[in-house]
Structures are given as C-alpha cells and as structure tokens.
C-alpha cells in the first residue's frame, strides 16, 4: 500500500519536474536562437546593417501582433456576419447584420447588455471615488504606506481568488444555524433576522459582484491619483491655504482641477477593465441567476453553446464599446508627447 503511495508521489514529482524543465528549456532555446541571430546578423556592415537590424528587432513583434491581434480581429468581424455555429465549421453563409439584430432584440441578451452598462457606470465611479478618497486622506500623511498597501493588495489577487475570498462574505446559511458568511452575520447582528441568499437573489447579486470588482480596482485608482496629488507642489497648496481655501474648497478648486487629466485617464482605464469583466461572474454564478454580462455570454456562445457567430457579434460590440475609451487615452497621450 505504501509502495503505491510512494510511486504515485514520485510520478507526480516526475510530472512536475518534466513540466518545469520544459518551460526552462523553452526560455533557454528562445534566448539561444536570439543569440545566434544576433551573432550572424552582427557580421553585416555598411548599408545593409541598419535595415537588417530593424527587421530583426521589429520583425518578431510585428509578426506576433499581426498573427495574434490584427488578423484574428478581422476574422472575428467576418465571423460575426455569418451563420457559423461551431468551431472550425467549413460551410458558412453570409447573413449580414442578423447576429447584431439578434443581440439587440433577444430578451436575454438585452438584459446582458443592460447589466454590462450598469457595471460600466457603477464600478468605475465608485472605485475611482474610493481611490480618490483614500489618496486624499493619506496624501502627505505620515505612515501612509500602511493603509495604502492594505487597499492596494487586492490588485495582486486574481478574480478567481477574489471570488473565493468573497464567498466567505456572501455565503448563505439558514438563519437558525451558525453563520459562515460575514455579511449574513453582520446584518443578523444589526437586526435583519431573515437575510436573503445573497448570491442567487437578483438584482442584489449583480451589485454584490460589483463590490468585488470595486474592491480590486480601488487600489489602482488610489495609487495613480495619489501620485498625481503628490505632484502638486507644496507651495501651491500652502499659498491656497493661506488665501483661506481649506477642506472641500481646497479639494474642489485646487486639487481636482490640477489632477483632472489623470482622473479621466484612471476612469477610462477602469471602464475598459470593467467592460471585459469575465472571471468574477463566471466563477461565482456562471452567469446564472440574472448576473450574465457581455464577456461571459460571449465566452459561452463561442466555446460552450456553439453559437460562434453570435459570440463574435458580441465581441465586436465589446470592441466598439471599448474603442472610444482607448482612443481618448491615445489622444491624451499624443497631446502630452507634443507638449514635451
């Protein structure tokens, strides 16, 4: 008996070693190829040198981006105009905008879109609000790193990990039993004797899932806004204070205008992340109990329920929604470069 246990353990260890070795080999192989290419191309001199260097340096990145992003994006737009159902289907027909019409007329998808818009409005606003509040509170405070690290830490936690963490907050047990979920325990102590089963009660569950996203994103907003606040010279704040501006007035008339650009960039960045939210909804309820969002339904259409064309249409809708946000960020960046 113990012998089988040992052999099982050693086979597991063997599998682990093989996997890790494969990864290390891949990295070493990659670096070795690079070194050889550099060595051979380094022999070139004269007029050939620069074009060759450009090709070697830029080629791999351009090739990978074309293969992994540009061509697939075009293919997905193309797929969304066909009636493709399952992956790799050979015979497909052009159906025009039928999938888009479906997305906006199908009651279930309509609800998904409305819910995604709710996420898009609420999560960035609250996350940036909390982030700004903490950034202001700890701005120029002693020992600021302790509360900052506490708020920032969830940034390092995966959405899946966060979903597990929050299951101990939202877990439901009949009120007569000892509670295992923190939220139930707190509201029972506060006098709500019969709390609902949080995660399967719509529309409450959607908002509770948003709380998880806010929990993760607030730290990002805090750090970036905190840096912007720090960049306001002490002299400016001090002279404003001497002119009698303090508290909310100082905040509204000096600090917010001076960090406005950063504020907008943080807001759009959180919006982009929120639009693509997938993991939280997927892990907690798999989109059931009226919690589905665009990215989750799209995944199911593509890989679970064999509706590739419909899923592709949702992906294009997602793309069109993200587009203005990113373009705004690009424009902002361009302007900053011109100033420099």
């Amino acid at each position: 008996m113990s012998a089988t246990y040992v052999s099982l353990a050693s086979s597991v260890a063997g599998q682990a070693a093989t996997t890790l070795l494969g990864a290390v080999e891949a990295v070493l192989g990659f670096v070795a190829i690079l070194a050889i290419v550099f060595f051979v191309a380094g022999r070139a001199t004269g007029r050939l040198e620069k074009p060759l260097a450009v090709i070697i340096c830029l080629g791999p990145a351009l090739f990978l981006v074309a293969l992994g992003l540009v061509i697939p994006a075009i293919t997905t737009i193309n797929n969304s105009l066909t009636n493709q159902q399952f992956l790799g289907q050979q015979k497909t027909k052009k159906v025009g905008l039928k999938n888009y019409v479906f997305a906006f007329t199908d009651p279930y998808t309509q609800q998904t879109i409305v819910r995604t818009v709710l996420w898009l409005v609420i999560v960035p606003a609250v996350a940036v609000g909390v982030g700004l509040l903490v950034a202001l509170l700890v701005d120029r405070m002693k020992y600021a790193s302790i509360p900052k690290t506490m708020v920032f830490l969830p940034t390092a936690i995966s959405f899946v990990g966060a979903a597990v963490i929050w299951s101990y907050v939202y877990n439901y047990v009949t009120p007569s039993q000892p509670q295992t979920g923190l939220l139930s325990q707190v509201v029972i102590k506060l006098g709500w004797s019969n709390p609902p089963n949080w995660l399967i009660t719509p529309p409450l569950n959607t908002f509770l899932e948003m709380v998880i996203m806010i929990w993760i994103q607030a730290g990002f907003a805090m750090v970036v806004l905190g840096a912007a606040l720090k960049a306001i010279p002490d002299e400016v704040i001090e002279s404003a204070r001497m002119d009698g501006a303090s508290g909310f007035r100082l905040f509204r008339t000096i600090q917010v205008p001076m960090i406005r650009n950063t504020l907008v960039v943080v807001l759009t960045t959180v919006m982009i992340t929120t639009l693509k939210v997938f993991d939280i909804v997927f892990t907690i309820n798999n989109g059931n109990f009226k919690t589905d969002v665009l990215a989750r339904q799209m995944y199911a259409d593509m890989f679970v329920t064999s509706q590739v064309a419909r899923g592709s249409a949702l992906a294009v809708i997602l793309f069109l929604a993200v587009l203005p946000l990113v373009l705004y960020n690009v424009r902002q960046l361009r302007r900053e470069r011109e100033i420099r």
């Binding site: 061509i71 002693k142 597990v164 295992t180």
Partner: protein
C-alpha cells in the same frame, strides 16, 4: 465618509500670522503639519482594515480544522481557536489537488514573462533609436492595438493553432504544431502583452541619454551590439516594472488559460483548477479556503516584495512620465 471630512479641514495656526507665502522646505513642513489630522488617519486606517477583512477571513479559515471551518464563521476562531494543516495537506496531495496546477502556473508564467521582454524591448529600441519613415506610425499602431479586446482574438487564434492560418481557403501559414501543449499558452500571452509591453519599454528606452548611444555609434558599434550591451542593461528598471505586471497578469489570468488549456489537467494553471473546484468544493468550504489561499499566495508575495517597481510601471502606463 463624505469628502468634507478630509484632512484639509484642519487649519494650522501658523498660516494666519505669516503673510508671505512659504517656499521650499518651509512650505513642505507647513503642509505636512496641516495634513496630519488624526481624523483623516483614522478614516484611512478604517478603509484599509475594511479592505483587508475579506482576505484575512480566508487566511484564518485556511488554518482551521475542517469541521470548524464548515460549520462556523471564521471570526469564531477568536472564540474557539482551532488549528490544523489538514486542509492544506489534502489540497496539495489529494487527487485533482492543486500541486500540479501550481507547477503549471509557474511553467506558464516564466516563459510568458521572459519572451515578451525580449521581443518588446527589441521593438522598443528599433522604434526609438533606429528612426525610419513610418516608425512613429508603427509605434502608435502598437499602442492603439490595446483597443482589441483579447476576446476578439480567441476563436481565430485557436483555429490557427489547430488548422493553421487560412485566407480564402488557402493555407498561408501552417499550424505551428503547438496544439495541446503549454507553448500555445506562452505564445498567446506573448501576443496579447505586446501592445502594452512595446509602449512601456519604448517610452523608457527613448529617454536613455542620446549621447551614450551616439558615443557607441562613433566607436563603431552596430545597432544590435548597442542594443545588447548598452540599451538592455540600462533598461532594467523598466524591464522590472513590466515583468511584475506581466507576471501578475499571466498568473492571475483565467480566460486565456481556459481557452487554450481547455480542460486538460496537464495544462491547467491554478486559476483554472480553482475555478472548477469552486463548483465541486461548494459543499466543502473547509477545502475552499486553503485552496484559495494557495491560489493567491504567490502573486501576493511577488507584489509585496516588488511593489515599488509595480507602481512605477503603473504610473508609466497610465500617467505621463
């Protein structure tokens, strides 16, 4: 917690009798005194604690005995302390446990972090220092490609791994033969990381002192030589920032892993395993806690140890500088 309770509500006595604006260190000192209001500190700490409680609960529960964790809340630990490592042992050694997925996560993350560093810093150098017609346009194309949600790329990319690239029925590129291996996950992460990576590294490399690169040129060093022996070593701060970014991103990713690793346990990283466990462990809260903690512990350690670089990357990516 309205904004009116913020630290600025404290007015310092010094500002009323001094009429001339303060400058330099004096201003810094005055502002610092005015801003160190106890209310602000207490509110900040309170929010910090509120933010930590959920994670703390998971941590406590992961060390409680199975029966305790299943039947009572983690806060009961402070009333009836119990300590057990059974949950961890079971999660690590049990059938379908987390040991192999943890190894897989490592085996996915290391190449998927190192390969983009080289590809992107080479591209960043070319775009910053080997000016040629169109190099600016290429740079902005890279940056703008961040608009493409990776969701748009999933199906076509998977089709490419299986069948190769076909345009109008003609095979333009054969399948790379990586289907069903970790290589397709490395490759996918590399592709998806490039827009951000090229942007971050380009900005840093472009700010390296031009005199250094000129001097090397005058000494007869080729572009590739300059990249290898001047640019790469000097770019280490930016590379560190990006690596942490990419490490956390890849380790925490679920969508790419689920799409290209599928349900194959030999390819599953810890997030994907955890996600499928939440279903079957739903009734086993005692195992969910240690499993959940093992899922987050590696990124959290990396994050805490290298927070400085992470913040630097964050700021370079979304604010000027």
């Amino acid at each position: 917690m309205s904004a009116t309770t913020d630290p600025m509500s404290a007015t310092s006595a010094t500002s009323t009798d001094v009429k001339k604006p303060l400058t330099g260190p004096a201003a810094t000192r005055a502002v610092r005194t005015a801003f160190s209001s106890p209310t602000a500190s207490i509110v900040a700490i309170a929010i910090g604690v509120l933010w930590t409680i959920p994670t703390f609960g998971l941590f406590i529960n992961s060390f409680r005995s199975k029966s305790d964790a299943a039947t009572s809340g983690w806060w009961m630990f402070f009333v009836h302390p119990s300590f057990s490592l059974d949950g961890y042992r079971q999660v690590l050694t049990g059938q379908g446990g987390l040991f192999i997925p943890l190894v897989n996560s490592l085996a996915i993350t290391i190449p998927a972090t190192i390969i983009p560093i080289f590809v992107a810093s080479m591209a960043g150098y070319a775009l910053a220092w080997m000016r040629f017609r169109g190099s600016d346009a290429i740079f902005f194309t890279f940056f703008a490609l961040q608009v493409v949600p990776l969701q748009m790329a999933l199906v076509p990319l998977q089709q490419y791994y299986v069948h190769g690239l076909r345009i109008a029925g003609i095979t333009v590129l054969p399948s790379p033969g990586v289907n069903g291996t970790l290589a397709q996950i490395w490759l996918s992460h590399t592709m998806f990381s490039l827009p951000l990576a090229v942007f971050l590294l380009h900005n840093f490399i472009a700010q390296l002192p031009g005199s250094l690169i000129e001097a090397a040129r005058v000494d007869g060093a080729s572009h590739l030589r300059i990249f290898r022996s001047v640019v790469l070593p000097l770019s280490m701060p930016a590379i560190a920032s990006f690596s942490i970014f990419q490490f956390l991103w890849v380790w925490n990713d679920l969508l790419v892993a689920k799409t290209f690793g599928g349900s194959n346990p030999a390819l599953q990283p810890v997030t994907a395993r955890m996600q499928s466990l939440t279903g079957s462990y739903g009734s086993h809260l005692e195992l969910l806690a240690p499993a959940g903690f093992l899922t987050i512990v590696v990124p959290v350690i990396v994050f805490l140890a290298l927070q400085r670089y992470f913040v630097r990357g964050l700021l370079a990516g979304s604010v000027k500088g």
